[in-house]
């Protein structure tokens, strides 16, 4: 197994507050890793650091052996890292179809794209994606009119459209109904194996559905790592995390 992502001693400090402190993480090919931790544990910040949204104070991030520590967001994205945000981010005034089209990023430069007419290339690809996330009957609807769950799927679909080798999902089921969550876990299980994923999630039942290995963060550092049962039986985790918020 080759490591897709490797974080070494990643630290992010704001003046006197250290959000992420010497965090190490290694994710292997085809793995679905869940990132757990109480609020303020540094999960989202870690994703920010991986994707270049925030700059590291110290430490390094490697993607398939390449150092991406100092790259900009778009460079990292072009290295094959896709990210879904905690608050779903889609292009609200564009139709669902156009959202997928924008996410289909074969050409990224403005001038190259001036020669590309819409829907010329992405067609086949989004048929595949629609198979996975659904929304096939909502293609012409402006994304701003979608329900919350649909917006989440759209964003997941967009990230897939981008065809990344590593997907980062920040709370993909936040605000979803039970049925929607069930559909989402189906989507994730379908992706598992063919894609490498890191999922930040609070919903333990969802985590149980999908996770291979779980990494627990606390106070910006690694607390524990292991399979679902190992984590559930880890006394330290129980103490800081399960005790405080409770895993349902």
């Amino acid at each position: 197994m080759t490591s897709v992502l490797e974080l070494k001693g990643v630290t992010r400090a704001f003046n006197d507050y250290i959000a992420v402190n010497g965090f190490d993480l290694t994710v292997n090919e085809g793995e679905l890793r869940c990132l757990l931790g109480p609020n303020g544990a540094g999960k989202t910040t870690s994703l920010d650091l991986i994707t270049g949204r925030q700059k590291l104070t110290s430490g390094s991030v490697h993607l398939r052996g390449n150092d991406i520590t100092h790259m900009s967001e778009q460079q990292i994205a072009r290295q094959g890292v896709g990210r879904k945000f905690q608050v779903p981010a889609v292009f609200k005034e564009l139709s669902v179809k156009d959202n997928f089209e924008v996410a289909f990023t074969r050409e990224r430069g403005p001038f190259a794209n001036m020669a590309v007419m819409r829907r010329s290339d992405g067609e086949a690809r989004y048929n595949e994606i629609i198979e996975i996330v659904g929304l096939g009957d909502r293609l012409e609807v402006p994304a701003g009119l979608l329900s919350h769950g649909e917006t989440q799927w759209l964003e997941i679909g967009m990230v897939l459209m981008q065809d990344p080798s590593l997907l980062l999902m920040d709370e993909p089921t936040a605000g979803m109904t039970e049925q929607e969550t069930a559909k989402t876990s189906d989507i994730f299980n379908e992706l598992k194996g063919t894609h490498t994923l890191i999922v930040v999630e609070h919903d333990m039942s969802f985590v149980r559905e999908i996770a291979d290995i779980i990494t627990v963060m606390h106070m910006g550092s690694l607390l524990a790592e292991g399979t679902i049962s190992e984590i559930e039986n880890n006394s330290v985790v129980r103490e800081v995390y399960l005790g405080s918020e409770g895993i349902s």
């Binding site: 949204r53 905690q86 608050v87 981010a89």
Partner: protein, 300 residues
């Protein structure tokens, strides 16, 4: 290049006086910008009609002084309250519906400024009017390199008073605490029972009132005509944008810009000074965009 035939040579005492004049200019910029800074800082509203609120303050003073016969010092608070009332109405009528659309506020307030200019022109005519300077301000300070007219000194003092007053209201009264709470987190403030809409109305009215008081003073200093406000609005924006959110920022940036303007004017001329200043501000914003990046870190 023969643009500036007279590049004034450096000479210490007049240059020092130029620095003093810089303080005087800075106080004018600060007074012009203060209301804008409060409104922008609290509500994130770019009020393009701010210059016109200044103009209304000047005309209010003119009306009370010339037509009613109220002494100048009393006109200042009157201008404050009259324009504050107008500001309150504007907030209720136009701004309120646009809080989620900052760009549209900018445009709507610009439309408003047209209406205000034209209304004043219809009422008072286009002729320049003037506000009489009270005789007790007709003195000059003449001490070695310091030359400052009484009116300028008065404006510097008023700037200090207004800033202090604003500081006091913001940091020492419950209203101020509410304003700052809303500034930082509207939802959180609401959960503590603070009526954000009311706070916005009051803040806008207060900012407008400050513009009115500024107008009263500018009326004494300069000439009143319906589109006098446009002369202040760009400068006021620059003070606010360069200063960032907060009272201290505005004080510093107006001091900086006022001094720069005075020094450039000393060496070259006022038009060129403006060009240099505006360009510097644009470049400055490029390299110190703190508080300027609209995509906040905490959004997602």
């Amino acid at each position: 290049m023969s643009v500036h035939d007279f590049w004034t040579p450096f000479s210490l005492l007049p240059f020092l006086n130029a620095l003093i004049i810089g303080i005087s200019l800075a106080s004018i910029w600060l007074i012009a910008a203060l209301g804008l800074a409060i409104i922008y800082g609290t509500m994130g509203v770019i009020n393009m009609a701010h210059g016109e609120l200044i103009m209304l303050g000047a005309y209010t003073t003119y009306v009370f002084q010339s037509l009613v016969g109220v002494p100048f010092l009393i006109c200042l608070p009157l201008a404050f309250f009259v324009v504050a009332a107008i500001g309150w109405v504007i907030e209720r009528g136009v701004i309120r519906t646009l809080y989620t659309r900052p760009l549209d506020t900018l445009l709507a307030t610009w439309g408003l400024s047209l209406i205000l200019i034209q209304s004043v022109r219809l009422i008072f005519g286009g002729e320049p009017q003037y506000v009489g300077v009270p005789s007790w301000l007709n003195f000059q300070i003449d001490a070695s390199f310091v030359h400052l007219s009484g009116l300028r000194l008065f404006i510097v003092l008023m700037a200090i008073i207004l800033v202090t007053l604003t500081w006091y209201i913001l940091y020492r009264t419950t209203l101020g605490i509410r304003v700052r709470a809303v500034m930082q987190d509207k939802e959180m403030a609401a959960s503590f029972g603070i009526d954000a809409n009311r706070v916005y109305s009051l803040t806008f009215a207060y900012g407008a009132g400050l513009a009115g008081a500024a107008g009263a003073m500018f009326g004494a200093l300069k000439t009143l005509f319906p589109d006098m406000g446009s002369a202040y609005v760009v400068e006021a924006f620059l003070v606010v944008v360069v200063g960032g959110i907060g009272l201290i920022g505005s004080v510093f940036s107006s001091a900086l810009l006022g001094e720069l303007n005075s020094v450039f004017s000393y060496f070259t001329n006022d038009t060129f000074a403006r060009f240099v200043l505006f360009t510097l501000v644009v470049v400055f914003l490029r390299f110190r965009p703190q508080g300027i990046i609209s995509e906040g870190m905490g959004r997602r």
